[in-house]
Symmetry: C3
Subunit: 140 residues, 3 copies
């Protein structure tokens, strides 16, 4: 008998930063009562994203910012899409370079992540936003 | 009772550009008769890719091109793989920096995307190509 | 009747390089006895990653290295996270720019990849490591 569980979550962000949401997703997995299967996490936005990343040392997130700012600069002189400010187009590029959908294994009723692996919601806009996630858990 | 539906789609591209295929995938979801579940989209190529991106303002795609050309330049002097032209290796890198497999939530029988979120097939070669997609819809 | 099959695999890497693991995943698919469905591959690390890439010409992997070294330089002067050496933070960024979870279609009992498409485990650290994968195959 396969279980299909789906829920919608809201996460409030404080502006540009990466927030560890692993525990929130693990709670959804618990609620689904799936022992073996998959948890799919989807972020319904194009200026924030998801990222699997090291979860132990905060300087990893600092350095990730350093690199993303180089690859997708704020207020780039060549951007045409800048209606919402210096961070507008940069946020779209940063989202594409990371991801908006992640699927994680569920084993023995829990998310089966590596020891130093966290799932982050990465807000790319300067301002605080409310971000919507759809979590779909399936399995047996 | 879990439904497993799989279909193969061909998309003709006009050469380098991003094409919104959200409606095509939503049609496949309709055909699958899944109410709650997931739609998996897979592109069977390494010089074209998939991308979730803002779908309302065409300049977002223009700016995405600007950045991808910087990150994965055409005809880079260091490339060794250039048998098929200036866009050959660049296309492979651009595919890796975006993605070739995307999973989307299905809710109430439809793709559950954000308001400004579209799924694009991104052709990275200069020339027109016929690209093959496998869509797998599962759920209840 | 939906099948849910999950197995854990170890892959020993020789240090920084990309290893084609398509055949290993196809073996897991065979073991699952799924005819139509999906194979999810998850790498439980943040300094190695997965990549779908051209599998025929080795110079593609050489050129991918060239570009990744530019985008995520080793020993970058701005990195704060460097406890484990010059490749430490670069490995985390390279993992984020590629991916750690891939879902592949299963058709007629086999992985349904493109002709020139391979799934690679990309070791980003200089030293040899043992890397852990969770493969989850579901379908009918």
């Amino acid at each position: 008998m396969t279980i299909w569980y789906q829920s919608e979550l809201q996460v409030k962000t404080p502006g540009r930063s990466a927030i560890d949401i692993s525990a929130v997703i693990d709670d959804a997995v618990n609620g689904a009562s799936v022992t073996t299967g998959l948890a799919h996490v989807f972020l319904k936005h194009t200026s924030a994203s998801l990222m699997l990343c090291e979860n132990a040392d905060a300087t990893v997130l600092t350095d990730m910012e350093t690199i993303l700012k180089r690859l997708a600069p704020d207020a780039d002189a060549e951007y045409r899409h800048d209606y919402e400010g210096d961070d507008d187009m940069a946020a779209h590029v940063r989202s594409v370079l990371t991801t908006n959908d992640v699927t994680l294994p569920v084993s023995r009723g829990r998310l089966n992540l590596g020891t130093w692996q966290g799932l982050f919601l990465y807000e790319h806009r300067y301002a605080s936003h409310s971000r919507q996630l759809i979590v779909t858990v399936s399995g047996k």
